[in-house]
Amino acid sequence: MGNEEAVFYSRVLTELTLSFHIIYATIGVGVPLMIMIAQWVGIRKNDEHYILLARRWARGFVITVAVGVVTGTAIGLQLSLLWPNFMELAGNVIALPLFMETFAFFFEAIFLGIYLYTWDRFENQKKHLLLLVPVAIGASFSAVFITMVNAFMNAPQGFDIVNGELVNINPIIAMFNPAMPTKVAHVVITAYMTAAFVLAAIAAFRLLKGSNHIYHKKALYLTMKLGFVFSIATALIGDFSGKYLAEYQPEKLAAAEWHFETQENAPLVLLGVLSDGEVKYALEIPFGLSMLAHNNPKAEVIGLDQFPADEIPPLYIHYLFNIMVFIGMWMAILSALYWFGINRGWKRVSSRWFRWLIVLGGPLSIIAIEAGWWLAEVGRQPWILRHIMRVEDAATTSGQVDLMLMLFALLYLILGIGSIVVLSRMFRKNPVEQELEDRHMEKGGDLH
């Protein structure tokens, strides 16, 4: 039967939705923590700049949250619409974290509504900050629960299949599968990191565009510091992910690293291109892969030779791996230089070209997130549920997926442009200098 088309278009549509949603989802998970930190610093130091920073971030955040919510709903429904066979099985085993995610989302939504509409309503600022805690927790836990489902797809457990029937189902064991800790921690920490660098890029951009207000300098310094902390944690957790892969999903690691033959003292291949099955122009770090996989330069690392040809993921994931890792390292170096440089009074880190590099760091971080997710998803191929269900067996048999693909592509285009236009107009119409002045006028009436 001609179901290949439906499978193909289902994959493209899912990839498109996820790639679009992940931008807003990442910001949605990361930014509440940034708002919380800024507001906390503002209250502690009694510095109105940080409070205003939190307030302005919160304003922009609402727009991204709205797009994140609707695209998240889209992917939630598309899972059932495009992969009904998978969802039937998944519903039986891994529905619990999906269900929990809606509660986390619920919790976040309620308190976000309250938080947004209670600015200056409380005498005690701390009470208002307290309302943000459930928002940040809800946002992060949404990511935790939904990533548990993704982890389950990589390392399914908590059930047995006997004669095609699911038996001995244990939802808790399914949730706490071996892929879960590294994946969940990696997703959450990179969301924080990306949010910090995106906000840093905005602050740097304002400084480049003529505003020399200390508000932006504080914002930039704060976000670069946070970005540095989170990028170091990301690197560490990324290293743990390598160890998880070596232990439980060696084919994914081997394909991402172009590690063809099982060997000891395995080197780590960076960059390079693949032509006719040979790696060219690559940078080899001796013992690197053995270290990444087992923390031991002599350890044996399983190569692609151990797997049947039809169970090896596409080798282009190596490029995705490189993009992700190099951007991550680059951002760690850039933010370290900035932090160190500011403390040392280096003029160079406040120069125009350095600020342009920081601006560039915003989109780069988003690209790293995208590359990371493509690596995670393509690296699991050909499985939708590793060693249990193949992608082509999971897809819908409906014939209209291509039409839906076009409709959704149009929708994301409209939403993407719309959110950018609205956000930039929102902040251009109300620059920070203006707002600070307005607030002083208002306060002036109260104080004197």
Binding site: L33, I37, A38, W40, V41, R44, K45, P178, P181, T182, V184, A185, H186, V188, I189, Y192, I214, K217, K218, L220, Y221, L222, K225, L226, V229, F230, I232, A233, L236, I237, F240, K243, Y244, E247, Y248, H294, N295, I342, N343, G345
Partner: protein
């Protein structure tokens, strides 16, 4: 050791990073002084 790294260490790092973030966030002497 491997089990510890795969199952527990990621969460320890994650929580530690959040704590460190709160600790370093208020240190803004270097940008505040040139006001």
């Amino acid at each position: 050791m491997t089990d510890f790294i795969i199952f527990y260490a990621p969460f320890i790092i994650l929580i530690a990073a959040i704590v460190v973030a709160f600790l370093v966030a208020p240190m803004d002497g270097s940008v505040n002084k040139d006001e």
